[in-house]
Amino acid sequence: MHVTVEVVGEDVHEFDVEGASYADLLERVDLSPHEVSVMVDGRPVPEDQPVESEHVTVLRLVQGG
């Protein structure tokens, strides 16, 4: 499966994956599941689930105010 991973505010990555989880995608873009939300169609998906979408959005948690 060809997957586009958009890290909001940063880069867009393209990967060919088979049997990968969303956590695997995060590892390939050097991000930890603790610091982001992985989203598909506007909703977060569990990082341990297999990738089923061709477009994934990654949004960072930000705490400063």
Partner: protein
Amino acid sequence: MAGLDLDPTQLDRYSRHIIMDDVGPEGQAALLDADVLVVGAGGLGSPVIEYLAAAGVGTLAVVDDDTVERSNLQRQILHRDADVGTPKVDSARRYVTDLNPDVNFEGHAVRLTRENARDLLSDRDFVVDCTDNFGTRYLVNDACVLAGVPFSHGAIYKFEGQALTVTPDGPCYRCVFPEAPEEGTVPDCATAGVLGVLPGTMGCLQATEAVKSILGVGDLLTGRMLHYDAASVGFEEVPIARDPDCPVCGDDPIESVEDVEYTGGCTVA
């Protein structure tokens, strides 16, 4: 007509609002009748408080248990060098009362907690989340959603800012980030730094959302997380969908913030 209640001084002070078709004397009267709570009088809270006071928001409440530190002054424009060591709500009070006698300032030099959240948030027309930690951020979200009070979320990091407006019929912060990250995994401004003018941009967006909500004009930043990159001057929107399984705004919500421990992951029991 409510606008007829404005006195000559107010008609002069707010003339640039009143002349606008989308505001008018009725809109200005609505602002003067409005009750807004700002949670946090720091980087984001400073421009929010200043612009809402200038706009004539009739009751402007601020909750912050912090005192001014010299390292705040690079971005927290409410506070002066002479304020170092004094409560932030005192700086806010001085600024607001000096600027606009129409505003009833309500300062709370306490930390927002599960115990006082209902009293502080429930009866407001709008809440502005200008907090600097995840525990309070999740508490503001949960308490506002449960009370049906619209609020603006804002957050900043280095050159980047996020903003989202949550209304009773839209997705909430937990629909994007169901749980807080483990402590120490996401850097704060003290460890990562933040561009001093960035909270000015993001706070002005939040103040704009508050004013629009009170006036009932325009499109609020609901159902989309706004991301701003000051380095590239880029704005990006991420669509957000309401999660029917969300424990706060979903189909089977919790009844009270008492069901949540606002430490660690801020997980709903």
